[in-house]
Symmetry: C2
Subunit: 202 residues, 2 copies
């Protein structure tokens, strides 16, 4: 999240799926060896974000994401060959459940299967829980998916990676989440270009 | 600031100058011995926020604040006996410069003099700098005053005390501050009920 509360910048498009300036939200991650390895690249640095990323990967058994995070677009996907933003080898390597209104057969790519869920966030959570086994389910984004789970009282923990940038517009976290959501700060990790914030929900 | 970006809650009033839920932004401070002593009270705890508060007090030579932070209200103050939210002995004990459109003679209270500045934020800064000597000038709030100084490129540092609450509405920081404001994260301090975030501006 940017310091002014956006998790994507304004004017999201195929060329800029994170919106104008939105890549800046993730610069801290792009520099990390842990991130680069997960994306099939070498090099990169080790810093306090490394443990945060590696612990997150280790404890996560399945992901949930919104349709826009998976692949943007607005049309139905019946025969859509589109494999999402990440191409033939997405970085997840775990089951991913995509919230959408458009039915589509599961998409099996190298190391990752995307399952498209059209019957709501509770169904997606149940399926992701089943797939995750003993591990956690992570709702990765975007703003709307995270906000829906928070508003429905279905999240146990909130992690925010707070980047030192302003975006001036775009998609806000917490839209539709009431002020009565109770949060307890459990951890904050200072790292280069980011502060990782952890909250227990409820 | 709340996690959803507000520095005051909705529906600010004389009874709730910080708006609904806005007191929750400062709960971390109310518990501190350092805060309680500055407000003439005893008791309270010592934790990582203590150093942050004491360092802030030690380096600050003068304060600037907006009219609403001083005392709310919307009318002219020519003969207004109103001494601001803090009564006869405000906790500042240093010169305070209040941004307003309504001329008013300086208000000398026990330990603190409020000077009302009607000719703009640059004038207030010049006067506060003169009063602060070698020390820093702190723009304490509210949202509008802070945003104005940030937008005008007159701030060197930004400190945010991020509280683990949502307010769901109210006054946002960064209104009118463009996405081109450059920030560098310099420090983050985890403490009970708050994370203190420091950024170098520009």
């Amino acid at each position: 999240m940017s310091l002014d509360g956006y998790v994507a910048g304004p004017n999201q498009s195929v060329d800029e799926p994170l919106g104008e300036g939105g890549e800046g939200l993730h610069e801290w991650a792009f520099a990390l060896d842990a991130w680069r390895r997960a994306h099939g690249q070498g090099g990169g640095e080790t810093n306090p974000s490394t443990d945060v990323v590696e612990q997150g990967l280790a404890r996560t058994g399945a992901y949930i994401m919104g349709r826009k995070m998976f692949g943007g677009g607005t049309g139905p996907w019946g025969d859509d060959p589109w494999t999402g933003w990440w191409g033939e080898e997405p970085p997840f390597h775990k089951p991913v459940f995509v919230l959408t209104h458009h039915p589509r057969q599961p998409l099996e790519l190298t190391g990752t299967t995307f399952t498209f869920v059209t019957d709501g966030i509770e169904s997606a959570l149940a399926q992701a829980r089943e797939a995750a086994g003993e591990k956690d389910v992570q709702v990765s984004g975007g703003a709307e998916a995270c906000s829906q789970y928070l508003a429905a009282g279905l999240a146990d923990e909130l992690q925010i990676n707070l980047a030192p940038i302003l975006l001036g517009g775009g998609e806000r976290l917490f839209a539709g989440v009431g002020a009565d959501l109770k949060l307890e700060q459990t951890r904050a990790v200072e790292a280069p270009g980011v502060t990782h914030l952890f909250y227990r929900v409820g």
